[in-house]
């Protein structure tokens, strides 16, 4: 019961603090959707877009980058802004709150373990909220522009926009659960960020998240978490992309492990000493 009270209190505080910043998310989504719509109308007047086209455009990231002096590395701005905003929103609360009302909450929660689990569950709930808001806005835009819903992904646009070697055999039948990959990746990155910010500080935690994002964009490797969150690199979209079932499993398992490791550290952390250092 105490656990749910802590969780409820967290959610109320987070939503109370964040609602203004949350407006940035649908605004950004609308801007990105409108940009893709404009671009497609210029290329093919009268063409209708599917919900998947918008989602892949926003959460696609970029294809494989081959370093070459002729081809500058342009980081995927839309993906960075969308994912970066969500990570930023999840960054502040647990750490800042720990040195405010969090210590009172910690005393009343009945144990550090419960407190930490509440924070991890809150991460999960907030990720679901952010993506519901983001996907909901894209869905609304698709409906308003009379687009189709989850019918098929247009491989030609993916090839041009993402500069991807398209997997033509599977792209038309991309499974809808592919769109769970960005939330799973954001969740994993939020877990990493939470632990790093606990160890070093909020700004370094965010710096590490941004560094991870850019390293993931530059190197296409399963060892960098951000790769799983780029839909252009999914196996059904890109010819040599990542197998999605495995990616999803890796993200969830890694998040659970990160949370457990963070919990062990948090249970032994000297909060008052750290507060003095702050």
């Amino acid at each position: 019961m105490r656990f749910f009270r802590v969780l409820r209190c967290d959610l109320r505080l987070v939503l109370g603090r964040q609602w203004r910043y949350l407006l940035l998310l649908p605004t950004g989504m609308l801007l990105f959707c409108a940009n893709l719509y404009r671009w497609v109308q210029e290329m093919e007047p009268g063409a209708s877009l599917d919900l998947q086209d918008y989602l892949v455009y926003i959460f696609g990231g970029m294809g494989r980058y081959s370093p070459s002096p002729d081809e500058p590395f342009l980081f995927p701005g839309i993906w960075v802004c969308s994912v970066g905003l969500m990570l930023f929103l999840m960054l502040r609360y647990p750490r800042e709150e720990l040195y405010e009302s969090g210590q009172q909450q910690l005393l009343r929660s009945g144990g550090r373990c419960r407190y930490w689990i509440a924070k991890c569950v809150m991460q999960l709930v907030m990720t679901v909220c952010y993506f519901t808001l983001a996907y909901g806005t894209v869905l609304l835009f698709t409906l308003l522009t009379r687009g189709t819903l989850l019918e098929s992904l247009n491989g030609e646009w993916v090839e041009i926009l993402g500069r991807v070697n398209v997997n033509w055999d599977e792209i038309a039948q991309s499974p809808p659960w592919m769109y769970l990959m960005p939330p799973a990746t954001v969740l994993l990155m939020a877990g990493i960020q939470q632990i790093v910010s606990l160890l070093t500080g909020i700004s370094i935690g965010y710096l590490v998240s941004l560094g991870l994002m850019i390293a993931s964009a530059y190197f296409m490797t399963p060892w960098l978490a951000g790769n799983y969150g780029m839909l252009y690199r999914a196996g059904s979209v890109m010819a040599e992309g990542f197998a999605m079932e495995q990616s999803l499993l890796v993200c969830v398992l890694a998040w659970v492990l990160m949370s457990a490791a963070g919990g062990v550290y948090f249970c032994r952390m000297d909060i008052l000493k750290r507060e003095e250092l702050e």
Binding site: S68, P69, L74, F88, L207
Partner: protein
């Protein structure tokens, strides 16, 4: 060391020197500098690592063995745009600049130190000194890695004047200071060190101004960074031939063009905008908000 301040003997220069000493003692400044240096070292390691294939023109035409193929002026981090070091540095520099001391005013407002200091010195002087310290901290943390990279790369590569007959340089005639780059490349790069220093400092200054607008330290710090990324994303969405020049606040400070042509007016426009934002915010909000009595 203890700092003694009193209204009598405290001009803003004295407060500035005190703030600079404080800045140089913060871990954040050294962490930021170390991170910047670590990133640019990746570029130097890439340049310095032996590459037999560089000389095997038949197999690898990306790096040409001709003498103009790889020179200091197309390989150091400020004149190339394809290595991991470039990607990291020019993506993270806004945070590296604000990390040294941009947060300090916000922190001092939160912990009440400002109230103590405001009764001892003129607030205007104090804010000016804070801005100055943040400016210098941001400028140093951003520019020192660039200078170190330039010097380190010069140990391994010849500093041959670029010959634009060869297609190994991204600079074109329409680009900002293109003539200087071709005729006096060293002067061009030195000039860009100065621009970078000012630009990085102004970013840190914006964070100081944000302390007047938001309560949260982390939000105040990361607001200018977020604005940079949003502006970058929007600029990258603009159609290329119609918008010829680089509008991204991240790429416009790169000495040679990255995605589009470089334009000096845009670079100076961003500088002016950041300066005005900081000064006006400090001027308006600094007077109205901190009436402590």
């Amino acid at each position: 060391m203890r700092f003694h301040i009193s209204r009598k003997n405290c001009g803003w220069r004295k407060i500035l020197s005190m703030e600079l000493r404080k800045m140089l003692r913060t871990k954040a400044f050294w962490i930021s500098l170390a991170l910047g240096l670590a990133i640019v070292t990746l570029n130097t390691l890439y340049i310095a690592s032996p590459k037999e294939e560089w000389y095997d023109y038949g197999e690898n035409i990306l790096v040409n063995p001709m003498i103009y193929g790889s020179t200091l002026y197309n390989c150091w981090i400020g004149n190339e745009s394809f290595t991991f070091a470039f990607s990291m540095f020019y993506f993270l520099f806004p945070i590296l600049c604000i990390l040294p001391y941009g947060w300090s005013l916000c922190a001092e407002m939160q912990n009440g130190y400002l109230k103590n200091i405001a009764v001892r010195v003129r607030r205007k002087d104090y804010f000016k000194a804070k801005y100055g310290a943040a400016f210098l901290g941001g400028g140093l943390a951003g520019t020192i890695p660039l200078v170190v990279n330039f010097v380190a790369d010069a140990l391994f590569l010849p500093a041959i004047r670029p010959d634009l007959l060869y297609p190994y340089y991204s600079m074109q005639q329409v680009d900002f200071l293109a003539e200087l780059y071709c005729v006096r490349p060293l002067l061009f790069n030195l000039l860009y060190f100065v621009f970078s220093f000012v630009y990085f400092g102004l970013i840190a200054g914006c964070t100081v101004a944000c302390a007047f607008l938001v309560k949260s330290r982390i939000l105040g710090m990361l607001l200018p960074v977020g604005a940079f990324y949003v502006m970058h994303s929007v600029s990258m969405m603009l159609p290329y031939p119609q918008v010829l020049y680089e509008l991204s606040p991240i790429y416009c400070i790169h000495p040679t063009p990255v995605a589009r042509h470089a334009n000096g007016w845009i670079l100076f426009g961003y500088m002016a905008w950041m300066f005005l934002f900081a000064v006006l915010t400090g001027w308006i909000k600094g007077n109205e908000k901190y009436e402590i009595f």
